[in-house]
Amino acid sequence: MSEDVSERLHAMLARIPYAQFLGVRAELAGDEMTLIMPFAERLVGNIKLPALHGGVVGAFMEMTALAQLSISVGLARQARPIDVTVEYLRSGRPVTSYARAQIKRVGRRVANVHVEAWQEARARPIAALHGHFTLKPVEPSTD
């Protein structure tokens, strides 16, 4: 069962060109998914520090939310972002980043998701995201 979910998740990420550009992969432990983004030069925004580009950190967390939704509510419901708010807490250093998403609510058409990203220590997050995502209704919509 979980093997199956894991395979579907890997297949989904492998098919998304932008996920490949970011270089992300997923690890699944029970129902907890962690998205992992190894450092790569192309992800840098500020070469002096150096620091990950803010847009990359945002995109990484958005991808985490979408991946978590795909395993929790199913790919068939085609989650799409409506809005996201990203808070930057620390500069993203040139090391591997991790992110986990918590689905706060799944409604008939909208899901609310919170994501946190960290590097060396989970207790020291580098950024947080909360966002709303549209979902395709389970049954054919009548409205």
Partner: protein, 157 residues
């Protein structure tokens, strides 16, 4: 704050080119006006977020809006400086049309000593039909401007 002179605006293009991400995604600065920057992300296969439709990933729009916002601050300050994004809110209005280049127009509408406030819009065909809009706040590192080329001509020197 003084408005940037054309020579100072050129520096922003140089700064843009030093970001490996914008280089990897092919971001180009197409216009710099006082406090306003317009950037273009040419459509590329690696930007796709939905392989079934060819629609680019929301994350590409995120990166472009963030980058354009930073450039608008250079345009407002008149020179490149180091900054950190505090927060970024993005509303996704519609899917970008597959195959079209994406533009982002960012306006730094308020600058304090240490903070910049920016609004930005991403679009493909027309700025009046946005793909996404953004609102962001940045912390400025005004104490240490980025190293600039030694001689910035004040006038046509």
């Amino acid at each position: 704050m003084t408005n940037p002179t054309p020579s100072q605006i050129d520096l922003s293009q140089q700064k843009l080119d030093t970001s490996p991400l914008s280089h990897a995604l092919g971001f180009q600065t197409v216009a710099m006006e006082p406090s306003v920057a317009t950037l273009k992300a040419p459509y590329k296969p690696e930007m796709v977020g939905d392989p079934d439709t060819g629609v680019i990933a929301g994350g590409v729009v995120t990166a472009l809006l963030d980058h354009a916002s930073g450039q608008s601050i250079f345009a407002a300050v008149g020179q490149p400086l180091s900054m950190a994004t505090l927060d970024l809110r993005i509303d996704y209005m519609r899917a970008a049309e597959p195959g079209l280049d994406i533009y982002a127009r960012a306006h730094c509408y308020k600058l304090t000593h240490s903070i910049a406030f920016v609004r930005a819009v991403a679009y493909d065909r027309s700025v009046d039909d946005p793909v996404a809009t953004a609102q962001a706040a940045f912390m400025l590192n005004t104490g240490e401007p980025l190293a600039m080329p030694a001689a910035v001509p004040e006038s046509g020197k």
